[in-house]
Amino acid sequence: MSKFKLVRIDFRLIHGQVITKWLKQCGADKIVIIDDVLANDEFMRQIYTMSAPAGIMVDVYSVEEGMNQWNENEFNSSKILLLVRDVKTTYTLIKEGLPIEKIQIGGLGAAPDRKKVYGPISLNKEDYDLLAELVGSGVQVELHQVPEESAMQFEKIKIKF
């Protein structure tokens, strides 16, 4: 069984929806953020590390640190909520060997080259192609912002690209 209770792509990383809803819903006892930007900004890293409720650990790693940590001790928990900022980083992690079976896309912000695909969630062609490749290799991908809404399977957004 996967050590990841939830793997979520969300440009906001830890934020209100994650803290109030997904954390309880998925039953994780640890949040792991893998993000080069946050890991290299000591200031922001400290803020995010303290932003989970009592009893929930938060670890922040760069991609390289994250893979090293995974290979060393699998993040020392079997109930992990993994947060990643974007599709590309998630793709890299999988290619580096992180055993991710299912990805939830929870938030990707708008930009001129991005198309809204489900509610406020947007993808560009590059994201779409990377996800399609992952789906082709057996990873399940769904778009899901908050638990109260239903999840959209990746296959259903093909028509937009």
Partner: protein, 126 residues
């Protein structure tokens, strides 16, 4: 600079609660409210706040709605970088109590927070 109160929330809650407080205690001065709108990048939001609040320092009290949310991150960033105090758990009694004591030199913020926590209760005897 006199003491400032900055309210930062998910959506318009902060702006609206300031208006609600004004219904009760009249016009609030030295208070500003910022709304994080859905879909806004938290990093851009922090940038916007830094620009608007560049002159705010140690004397500023930040009031935010939810621990761990993006408004919380933004306020934590500002306090870490330019000083001030962060209080989480915004509600109307808390806002009014802090505001009423803003000019009080001997204001004890942690006492106000304790008192305001007691404002949340089940009403018995009805």
């Amino acid at each position: 600079m006199s003491k400032q109160l900055v309210v930062i929330t998910h959506g318009n809650f902060g702006k609206a609660i300031v208006e609600s407080a004004e219904m009760i205690i009249g016009k609030l001065t030295n208070v500003s409210a910022y709304a994080l709108d859905p879909g806004v990048d938290p990093i851009e939001f922090i940038g916007e706040l830094r620009e608007n609040l560049a002159d705010h320092g140690e004397e500023t009290i930040y009031l935010v709605d939810l621990y761990g949310g993006s408004p919380f991150h933004a306020a934590a960033y500002l306090v870490k970088s330019q000083g001030g105090t962060l209080v989480v758990g915004l509600n109307l009694p808390l806002l009014i109590e802090i505001y009423t004591n803003l000019e009080n030199e001997s204001m004890n913020l942690s006492e106000i927070v304790d008192t305001s926590q007691k404002s949340i209760r089940i009403v018995d005897g009805l």
